[in-house]
């Protein structure tokens, strides 16, 4: 690492925002089940000034969609800050490293490393899953590519190593609860720079989780962005309650069921949740997952008092040109 | 049970071990080999009777089915005896094979019975909870239910096999089961295995055609 770049690990804008101590806002964009870039681009344009980064999901719930790599490039071109997601389900270590090199060469600076939903949930249930490496091993691989300039096998990356700002997931609502914090620590040890959590409906459990996180000092070693999902109806909440690894309190479902204007109530709940989460020690930002309701993101950001988004205060030049362009490879 | 209800040879075996497991029984030196039972069975049901086939058991009168009953020594077989001594009238079309336990009735054996020309087969064991070998009757019932599916798949038809629970003291129930099963098989007609009989039967009675059942297996 050159001394000039020592202050930051990467050129990621998200890294700058989090490093300067601002409360970060990221949001999710689900790529389409088609070859059209339109939706991704318009969502990116809508989100670029109200969020600090946009996650592009990688065939989420094992449904075939436009690739997260391509979607990240569309976001980049639309002026956004892509946060590319990568799951272990579909690629082996060769394909993953190759895609990471490729993504970096195209200007992508953030990578979230995930296990991925099992293929039995998706639209290709007869697929063979890969899981050559798991999410923690992936995190470590990306960190070593960045910091140690080596591939997983130990072979050196002689020029232009990919310098990704590394994200990971944490799910305070999965079991075993006590181990969740320890597993988060494993992810940090492996090299995670920031964490996006599963969507929080059960604030009480989330607070308990964060308490343990802070107790172990993990909030000093990683930036935690708490997940928020606005729901459009009590039916949606009821469904989410059945998803493994999600918890939705009945009181919330009742509240939603009683509401006259359910969408409005969904936005209200999301805004209240964000406000409450900001008060929880160790939370450094929010990650808004408005699944198939991307237009809710600016509204929530606005109402939760997250706007305007802060500027990068350092003198550091914005996103240096991709290394791939400098070295003609 | 009258003498003619008895299959020519009864298999009496009183294993010291659980008879549901032939291996154990054989270890104990008791031969309850399927071979013997099969021979008994063959004598009882015989093969497709003659070329004319469509007639009754002895080649005269309307078609009569051949039904085989595997009866547990402790219950159904005693019930059959009781029915006999009570002079109850019931189906003349069934033959009883005495088993040491209903659980001893092997699936392969029942299939063989159909191969040999049986039109229907049933297994009768003790009331639930009363099995001499604890769970032989429960095993038998599960196996027979599983066999129904296989019989559907091979074109014979699962309705041709059944499991019943009877206590040794239930002579009238034994007779009732025999009649019930006979009625059922009479409705179904000759086994699809016996093509000639079945065709003749279908032609004569306008009953189920020879095709319906054979197509099941073709799926």
């Amino acid at each position: 690492m050159s001394p000039a770049a020592a202050a930051f690990k990467t050129d990621s804008k998200l890294e700058r925002i989090l490093s300067q101590g601002d409360f970060a806002v990221t949001a999710e964009i689900g790529p389409p089940k088609s070859a059209s870039s339109k939706g991704v681009r318009s969502n990116a344009a809508m989100m670029k000034d109200v969020t600090d980064g946009q996650n592009l999901t990688d065939n989420q719930t094992a449904i075939v969609r436009l690739s997260s790599l391509a979607a990240s490039v569309h976001v980049k071109e639309a002026g956004g800050e892509p946060i590319m997601q990568m799951v272990c389900r579909d690629r082996n270590r060769i394909a993953m490293q190759s895609d990471i090199l490729g993504a970096y060469s195209l200007g992508i600076r953030n990578l979230v490393c995930l296990s991925g939903d099992h293929q039995s949930f998706g639209n290709q249930q007869t697929a063979k899953n890969v899981y050559d490496i798991d999410s923690i091993q992936l995190i470590n691989m990306v960190r070593r590519m960045r910091d140690d300039h080596v591939l997983l096998s130990g072979e050196e990356i002689k020029v232009a190593p990919p310098k990704m700002y590394i994200g990971a997931a944490a799910n305070p609502f999965a079991d075993p609860f006590e181990f969740r914090v320890l597993r988060l620590e494993k992810k940090i040890n492996a090299g995670a720079d920031f964490i996006q959590t599963q969507c929080v409906f059960d604030l009480e459990r989330f607070a308990r989780f964060m308490e343990l996180v802070v107790k172990r000092g993990l909030d000093k070693r990683v930036h935690i962005l708490a997940g928020v999902t606005p729901a459009k109806s009590d039916k949606a909440l009821r469904y989410m309650k059945t998803v493994p690894g999600m918890m939705v309190p009945d009181s919330l479902i009742e509240r939603m069921a009683k509401a006259e204007n359910k969408e409005e109530e969904g936005l209200n709940i999301a805004v209240e949740t964000i406000k409450a989460m900001r008060q929880i020690p160790g939370v450094h930002g929010v990650h808004i997952m408005a699944i198939a309701w991307e237009s809710a993101v600016p509204v929530i950001a606005e109402r939760a008092g997250l706007l305007p988004r802060p500027a990068i205060r350092e003198e550091t030049a914005q996103a240096a040109p991709a290394e791939g362009k400098k070295t003609a490879d | 049970m009258t003498e003619e209800h008895k299959a020519s040879l009864t298999v009496v075996a009183m294993p010291t071990d659980c008879p549901t497991c032939a291996a154990e029984a054989e270890k104990a030196g008791i031969v309850v080999g399927n071979g013997e039972i099969a021979a008994t069975m063959e004598a009882a049901v015989g093969l497709e009777a003659g070329a004319a086939g469509a007639a009754g058991v002895d080649g005269q009168g309307p078609w009569r089915p051949k039904i085989l009953a595997f009866c547990c020594y402790f219950c159904a077989y005693s019930a059959a005896d009781l029915a006999g001594s009570m002079r109850l009238q019931y189906s003349p079309d069934m033959r009883v094979i005495e088993m040491p336990c209903s659980g001893k009735t092997d699936i392969a054996l029942i299939l063989e019975a159909f191969e040999k020309g049986a039109d229907g087969v049933y297994v009768a064991g003790c009331l639930e909870g009363d099995c001499h070998f604890l769970k032989g009757n429960i095993r038998a019932k599960k196996r027979v239910n599983g066999l129904k599916k296989l019989l559907d798949q091979v074109g014979v038809g699962g309705e041709r096999v059944e499991f019943f629970n009877v206590a040794g003291s239930q002579g009238p129930r034994f007779a009732q089961i025999a009649d019930e099963m006979t009625e059922r098989i009479l409705k179904l007609g000759p086994s699809p295995v016996k093509k000639a009989q079945r065709a003749a039967y279908a032609a004569a009675a306008g009953g189920p055609t020879a095709q319906t059942n054979s197509e099941v297996g073709a799926k």
């Binding site: 798991d134 181990f179 494993k186 690894g245 | 295995v193 093509k195």
Partner: protein, 223 residues
């Protein structure tokens, strides 16, 4: 043991289309224990096929012979049916895939599998078998409290559990225990949960199936 289950009879029927003389070969090892291809199943299969062909009129006049070998995974036992194998035009093996291949390698007739070979596992209860070992070639059970994540975790995660673990069950379905919950519970009981904090490095899959058929050689007993 190797656990297998029978193919549907309709599929076996198709595999044997046009056969005149079929030899059904069982095996007295694993498939006898899991009641898929032992002597009993061989006899049942023979009867079932005869009945099916009698009722459907397919394979008219076909004859079925039966044999059950001590093992179908060793050449000397395969040899025992040399005479009868020469008389048939099709062999239906009720062994695992290993047995099918041994028969096919030895005899120049149409050899077809009657079973679907499922996994290396054991009995859970009478009539229920479950997968236990992924045959990965590099055992790590000493790290995971004797519970195999390679095969029992739906995602083969070596640093689990993933975010789908819920009330001890896997995200894939309610019937499947989350292997990592089991591992965590056991390591906790053994007072060794701290060992799970170590990052387990990526697995060396070259020791698994990915290098073509593996071989085990024990020099000192070769002749």
């Amino acid at each position: 043991m190797i656990v297998a289950e029978q193919k549907p009879i309709a599929e076996i029927d198709r595999l044997l289309e046009g056969a005149k003389k079929v030899l059904i070969v069982g095996c007295r090892e694993c498939v006898t224990v899991c009641q898929a291809g032992g002597e009993k199943e061989v006899n049942t299969m023979a009867s079932a096929l005869r009945l099916l062909w009698a009722t459907s009129g397919r394979n008219p006049g076909a004859e079925i012979l039966t044999e059950t070998l001590e093992r179908q995974c060793e050449p000397e036992y395969i040899e025992q049916i040399v005479k009868v194998a020469g008389e048939v035009d099709a062999i239906l093996s009720l062994a695992c895939g290993v047995g099918v291949q041994y028969l096919a390698e030895r005899y120049p007739v149409w050899v077809v599998p009657g079973l679907n070979t499922k996994f290396a596992g054991g009995a859970l209860e009478q009539g229920v078998w479950t997968e236990k070992c992924g045959l990965c070639g590099d055992c790590i059970l000493y790290k995971t409290g004797g519970i195999c994540p390679v095969i029992r975790c739906s995602k083969s995660i070596l640093n689990g559990p993933c975010g789908g673990s819920h009330n001890g069950k896997c995200e894939v379905n309610e019937e499947t225990d989350c292997a990592w919950q089991l591992i965590y519970d056991r390591m906790t009981k053994l007072g060794k949960v701290d060992r799970l904090l170590e990052i387990e490095p990526p697995k060396d899959w070259s020791k698994s199936r990915d290098g073509g058929p593996r071989k085990v050689v024990k020099e000192e007993i070769r002749i």
